[in-house]
């Protein structure tokens, strides 16, 4: 198998596991999952109502479906090795994440 198709199949794998994980999280505890995933309620509805066939179809795209969620401030907080230790740092990152705009459909 050449490198290019290998890469594409890896992207599809990531997409599929992302969608399946998101669905499982949303079914277990919708609000907590929305917090962890950064979804708005519309996106959460769409993702959790996808049929298996739709999920597979959506996952077989050649681009990644999940987005990088760090903006500048959050990224700095996550990378900043402060003297206070990693627990404070993680708390800081979560706090900034909670304030970020959620993924939504305009």
């Amino acid at each position: 198998m050449d490198a290019q198709s290998n890469l594409l199949s890896e992207i599809r794998e990531v997409n599929l596991s992302y969608l399946l994980l998101a669905q499982r999280m949303l079914h277990e505890d919708r609000a907590t999952a929305m917090f962890r995933l950064g979804f708005s309620s519309e996106v959460a509805d769409i993702i959790s109502n996808l049929t298996l066939a739709q999920t597979v179809k959506l996952a077989s795209s050649s681009t990644l479906l999940c987005r990088f969620r760090f903006d500048e401030a959050t990224l700095l907080a996550a990378l900043n090795h402060s003297a206070l230790g990693s627990a404070v740092q993680r708390a800081h990152t979560t706090m900034l994440m909670a304030n970020q705009p959620v993924e939504q459909i305009d």
Partner: protein, 188 residues
């Protein structure tokens, strides 16, 4: 008087059980559920095995201002705000969901610094207009502060920790001990 509904009552008992398991005090249970005091006491004894603690609730809004409690309170309140604005949860349900997420950030062996009752008081202080969120000019994070405090030029206690930070044992247990437990090398 509305007619008593068995389903409603079952839901309220379920809610009270979740609240007690997270560490709610009796006053809080009375405010959040419609159950009678006697039933709540019985429920409390059954779940915790001891009588509910007596005495006043922690009533100080200033407690949230010292640096480590402020970080915990800000973390919790930011999660709670997400639950209310995006998560479509209300009242006690939002509180429970946010508090469970907050607990992921604290050392499991020790008592969480922000107790469940304090978290509930925090929300009441915000609703009552005693506290506000102030944006840090460095990290753009929103932090708990007293109402009507000047907002310009505010820098949070993570971006500019107080010089004595992490010097007491309790503070160290939150901030540093878990570095060793995960095995991340400490920065010089």
């Amino acid at each position: 008087m509305s007619k008593k509904s068995v389903v409603n009552e079952a839901n309220e008992i379920q809610l009270a059980i979740s609240l007690i398991q997270l560490g709610a005090r009796l006053q809080m249970l009375e405010a959040e559920t419609g159950l009678s005091r006697e039933r709540l006491v019985r429920l409390y004894k059954e779940i915790k095995g001891v009588s509910p603690p007596k005495g006043m609730l922690p009533f100080s809004a200033d407690w949230f201002m010292t640096w480590l409690p402020n970080i915990h309170a800000s973390l919790f309140y930011n999660i709670y705000r997400f639950m209310v604005t995006h998560g479509e949860l209300k009242g006690a349900q939002a509180l429970i969901a946010a508090y469970r997420l907050y607990l992921e950030h604290v050392n499991t062996e020790s008592e969480p610094l922000l107790s469940f009752t304090r978290a509930w008081m925090l929300i009441r202080f915000f609703d009552g207009g005693l506290l506000q969120l102030t944006e840090c000019t460095h990290c753009k994070g929103k932090f708990v502060s007293l109402a009507y405090e000047p907002q310009a030029g505010f820098v949070c206690s993570i971006c500019r920790p107080p010089p004595r930070a992490c010097k007491t044992r309790a503070e160290r247990s939150f901030a540093q001990v878990d570095i060793e437990s995960i095995g991340v090398p400490e920065m010089a």
